[in-house]
Structures are given as C-alpha cells and as structure tokens.
C-alpha cells in the first residue's frame, strides 16, 4: 500500500496550550483512517494543520508532512491554496453554517472547479449536477439554483461532500461530518462516504468520537488523547485487543448489544482532558488512569504490539490479561 499522507511528530501550540504533541498519522491510498478521541484532544487541530487551515496565533512544527510523496510542510500559503480543494478536500462538522448564505449551491460548487481548473461555467455546472446526483440528491438541477437556507442539514452536508469532490481529490478529510445530523441521516452519509471511497479510490481521514462509526467504516484507527496518538491499529485488532488504558476505557463506555447486561452500569472514565501547556512531560492520561505509576511522568515508550499496532504507554502489551472489551 502506498502512503498518501504521512505525518510525523506533528506539534501545534495555540497561545499557551500545546494542542498537538507529536502526533503521527498515516493515511494510505484508498483507505479510511479514523481519528478518535474526546473533545479537545487535538483531532480537529491535527486535521486542520494538514490542510494548512490552523486558526491565527497557532504554531505548527513537524518533522514530516508528506502528501502523495511530496513534503508539503514548508509549502507557502500560495502553494497550499493550490493544493486545497483540488487534491485534498475537507468537510466539516457544521453543515448548517459551512455554506455561504449569500450564494447559490451551484455558484459555490462550480467556484472550486473554476478556480483550480479554469473550467468554463457550463461544464462546471454539469459536473456539479453530476456530483449532486452521485451523493444522492434528487433534482440536482433545482438544487443548484437554491440557497443554503432552503436546504436541510443532511442535504447541506451532501452538498459539502459533493463540493469537496469537484476536483477529484486524492485525500478527503472529514471532521465529524455526521455529528450534527440525526441518526438516520448519519447512516446515509456514512454509507455515502464508504461508497465514494470505493468508486473514487479516495483516502479518507475521518475524525469522530463515535466508536460505532469507526467499527463500521474504518480500515485503521488512531486513538488520540491530550494531543498525542496513544494507540494506532487496524480496526479489527484494536477492537479485539485494545492495549492503552484509555482505549480500553473508551470501549467500555460504548454499549454493545448482547454484551451489556441490564442493571449493570456502563463504564466511564472519571475526570476530564487536562489542558496541556508546553513543557508538560509524561503521559497526559496518568491522572485519570487506574494503572498509573511512577514511570508515567517520564518519557513514554512507543511500542509495537503487532504488525501495524502501535502503543504509547509504559505498560507491557497484553497487561492485565486479555483486553476488557
């Protein structure tokens, strides 16, 4: 498998907060990589730094940021502009506000193609209609002439997805694309993403905090905690044998039909994600971890559990017998 996106040792500081501390992510061509974790753990910031869309006042450092074999970490804003929307696209959590209220769907969709390819308007409109149909929107011709406020949330998110596909990107970053939608629409959007990936050979980096979503569509999962990827593994192996105490905790929080017994409380992880300032050493999870010991405030070793299964923890793989989940 060829790596489409390779990120090594990504560090982002926003003001006096170390939002991302040495994250590594690899997305292969045609693969769905899920980034999971609680709110505020640095998932979105990691994704935004790949796109070069970090908010003002943030600082990004990385030893490797390679896209399709090319190092883009040192790209100028201009070079990134040419890449964004063309070869890498992104969709967001807020479908209700992510489209410009002043322009029609058609105008916003064709704009991407006209900007990157200089496609004539008529052809761009055809392409937009074709993609709207592809993402399951009926009467695309009508929708192209409508304004965002005339569409429901689910439709808007489909428009966002179609718009992201206008230039046939190689990488699609989706930041919690289904969180703001109701459950039936969530399922439709996920099925759509999976289908698009097969048809277009897209590499998808999907950010979510929903383990149900992960189980359904991810090839590979990275679990983030306090700005670090604490565990990364192929989906099956992560669900079968989670190693990091945080991953195990996370999995016990999810009710699985057949496994949960009535009158038995679901698992929970006490405490909240700490705010990490630069200079923080050791494991960010140690204050909430039942297995914490002295070594946890030192340097945490990166261990290989099995092929493609990595762990950032002082505990030996397979600790405490077989995994809790």
């Amino acid at each position: 498998m060829t790596a489409l996106l390779e990120v090594r040792d990504l560090r982002v500081t926003i003001g006096s907060t170390a939002a991302v501390r040495g994250t590594a992510i690899t997305v292969n061509k045609g693969e769905t990589h899920c980034l999971v974790g609680e709110s505020g753990c640095g998932k979105s910031i990691s994704a935004l730094s790949v796109m070069g869309l970090l908010p003002r006042g943030s600082k990004r450092e990385t030893t490797m940021l390679r896209f399709a074999g090319e190092e883009i970490g040192k790209y100028s804003e201009r070079q990134m502009e040419r890449l964004r929307g063309d070869r890498m696209a992104m969709i967001f959590q807020e479908p209700m506000t992510s489209l410009n209220p002043a322009y029609t769907v058609g105008s916003q969709m064709t704009e991407v193609l006209r900007r990157h390819r200089g496609t004539p308007r008529a052809q761009a409109v055809d392409r937009a209609a074709e993609l709207l149909a592809r993402v399951g929107i009926t009467a695309p011709g009508l929708r192209l002439g409508q304004f965002p406020h005339q569409l429901s949330g689910g439709l808007r998110q489909r428009v966002m997805i179609a718009m992201a596909l206008m230039c046939d990107p190689e990488l699609l970053i989706a930041d919690e694309p289904t969180t703001a939608l109701d459950v039936t629409v969530q399922a439709q959007i996920l099925r759509l993403l999976a289908g698009l990936q097969k048809d277009f050979g897209l590499g998808i980096l999907l950010i979510t905090h929903d383990l149900g979503v992960v189980a359904r569509i991810a090839d590979r999962v990275s679990v983030m905690y306090a700005g670090e990827v604490v565990e990364s593994a192929p989906t099956a192996s992560l669900f079968a044998a989670p190693e990091h105490p945080y991953t195990r905790g996370l999995l016990t929080c999810v009710p699985v039909p057949g496994k949960v017994k009535r009158d038995e409380p679901l698992g929970s992880i006490p405490g909240v994600v700490p705010r990490i300032t630069p200079g923080f050493a050791g494991c960010g999870f140690r204050d909430r971890c039942s297995e914490a010991h002295a070594a946890c405030s030192g340097t945490i070793p990166r261990q290989t559990v099995s092929d493609g299964h990595e762990l950032l923890c002082t505990l030996a793989p397979g600790w405490g017998g077989k995994a809790a989940a």
Binding site: M51, L53, E77, M80, E81, R82, L83, R84, G85, D86, A89, M90, F92, E94, T97, S98, L99, N100, P101, A102, Y103, E111, V112, R115, H116, F147, H149, Q150, M160, M163
Partner: protein, 305 residues
C-alpha cells in the same frame, strides 16, 4: 416579501404624514407669522392686511387642511421673498444638493470600506487601532469647523480648489469631503465589525478549504455578507447628508436646498421653510425604505422568506 414591502410602505406614509403635520405646526407656534412678515416698522393695519392676504385669519384647522390638500399635490404655495412658486424654487435647487450628497457618499464609501476591511483583517494590531482613532476623530470633528479648515488649507493657502460656489465639479470636492466625514466613522465601524463576524464564520473556513485566493475569500465571501448592513446604513447616511447639507451649503455658499432653507429661515419665508423640511423629510423616509428593500434584496434569506 410583498407583505413586508406593503407594511414598510404603510409605515413610511404614516411617518411622512406626521412630518407634514409637524412642519405645519412648528411654523405656526414660532410666533405670529403676520407680524414677522410685516416687519418691525409695520402698523396694525399692515399686519391685518397681511393676515387677510395670506389667509392667516382663518381657523388653524382650515389652514392646515388647505395646506395639506395642496401639499400632497406638490403645490407648496408661493414664496414671500423670492416671488416664485415654492415647488419651482426647490426643484431648481435640488440638483446641487443631490450632487453634493452623492459626492459625499461616494467619498465616504471609498474611504470607509477599505479602512473597515483592513481593520478587520488586522484586528487587534496597531493598524486596527489607527483606524479606530481616525473614526473617532471624524466623529468628534464639527463639520463647519472642518469646512473652514479645508477652505483655508486647500482653497486659500494651496489654492488647489475653489472655496465656494458650484460652477464646476471642483466646487463639490471640499464640501463633499466635509460631508463624507460625518458618515465615515459609522460606515467604517460597521464594515469592520461585519467583516470580523464574516471572517470568523464557518463558510470562510470552507472557502479557505476550497483553496480560493485570499482576495476571493475577503471580497467575494467575506465582504458580500458584511456589506448587507453597510449598504442599508449608507442609504440612511445619504438621507442625513441631504438633510445635513444646510450647514455645509451655507459654509461653502452652494445654492442648494440647504442654502435655500437657511435663506428662507432668516427671511421668515415660512412656506419655503415648511416645504424644504417636508421635502428633505420625505427624501429621508424614502431612503430608509430603500435601505430596507436593499437589505431584502442582498440577503437571500430575507428574499425568499
């Protein structure tokens, strides 16, 4: 949309009627008109004769409805001083005032839109603070004073521009600048706050994720949304400028409606005063109505609601 328009229009008509009534009443409560027209040396007979001639001895309500009936037909009677129809007087003075207002608005927009956008893009930096300072100075400066200073510097010392009259376009430059100064602070602040809000929005992040150029993000996606309140306030500001031109036209001796108002007030030419107040008020009401409509046209969410 149609219902919105009808409702706004009805309100505008009511406001116009109120102004009409006030314009009539205010000239009557400012003293006995017959005495002031007759002048200080007039005898009691003279005053009585004038009262008779102008119908001022009739009951107030009769005078009011008579005037109202004529006014809605565009007949404001005859000027005591200029010996001409009031409607003619106003019509002949209107082009100067409108030209001045439009020049003022154009200058105000050319200055305040870029200033507001730059301040928003550089929010919190020294550039932002300098713009805020400029806006504050503009707010605090009395227009007649600024007019005189500009006259001295550009008219007398540098001799670049005429200090009075409207014989050529150059005559409108200095008064236009003075008039613009009254609108620049509010337009700049509005542009700035609108742009800050727009630039922080999710659709700007989307525009960036689409790889659009900085210019397209700022102007097409950002300013297009920030402009909605700016356009409607600009229309209202134009109304202020047309009404507020009384001072500027007097300072620069531009013979527009504002100058006419000043002349007729000092001559106690009350049919002209009434009519000028009314015409300026109606223009202002019309522009406010226009502002509401522009808002609806520019914001698709209002258009289809």
């Amino acid at each position: 949309m149609l219902r919105f328009f009808i409702r706004r229009f009805a309100v505008a008509v009511l406001v116009a009627l109120t102004v009409l009534t006030l314009a009539f009443l205010l000239t009557r409560v400012s003293g006995d008109l017959a005495i002031s027209i007759a002048g200080p040396n007039a005898t009691q007979q003279d005053v009585e004769a004038i009262r008779e001639a102008y119908g001022l001895n009739r009951p107030l309500s009769t005078q009011y409805f008579d005037w109202l009936g004529r006014a809605v037909q565009g007949d404001f009677g005859e000027s005591y001083f200029f010996r001409d129809r009031v409607a003619n007087l106003i019509a002949s003075r209107m082009p100067v005032t409108i030209t001045l207002g439009l020049v003022g608005l154009a200058i105000a927009l050319v200055v305040s839109l870029p200033l507001g956008i730059i301040a928003a893009v550089r929010e919190g930096t020294w550039i932002d603070r300098v713009v805020a300072l400029i806006a504050m100075i503009g707010q605090a400066m009395p227009s007649f004073w600024l007019g005189l200073v500009l006259m001295i510097v550009f008219g007398l010392q540098l001799a670049w521009l005429p200090i009075s009259g409207a014989d050529s376009w150059e005559g409108f430059v200095l008064p236009g600048i003075v008039l613009a100064f009254s609108a620049i602070p509010s337009l700049t602040r509005l542009t700035r706050s609108g742009m800050i809000e727009a630039l922080a929005s999710d659709y700007i992040r989307t525009a960036r994720a689409k790889g659009l150029t900085r210019l397209s993000i700022l102007v097409k996606h950002g300013f297009r949304n920030a402009a909605i309140p700016v356009v409607s306030i600009a229309a209202v500001q134009l109304g202020f400028m047309l009404g507020g031109s009384v001072v500027i036209e007097t300072v620069f001796a531009l013979h527009g409606v504002g100058f006419l108002a000043w002349e007729s007030i000092s001559k106690n030419d009350f049919p002209v005063v009434q009519a000028v107040v009314l015409v300026l008020a109606i223009i202002y009401i019309g522009l406010t109505l226009l502002a509401d409509l522009l808002n609806a046209v520019l914001d698709p969410r209002l258009r289809t609601a």
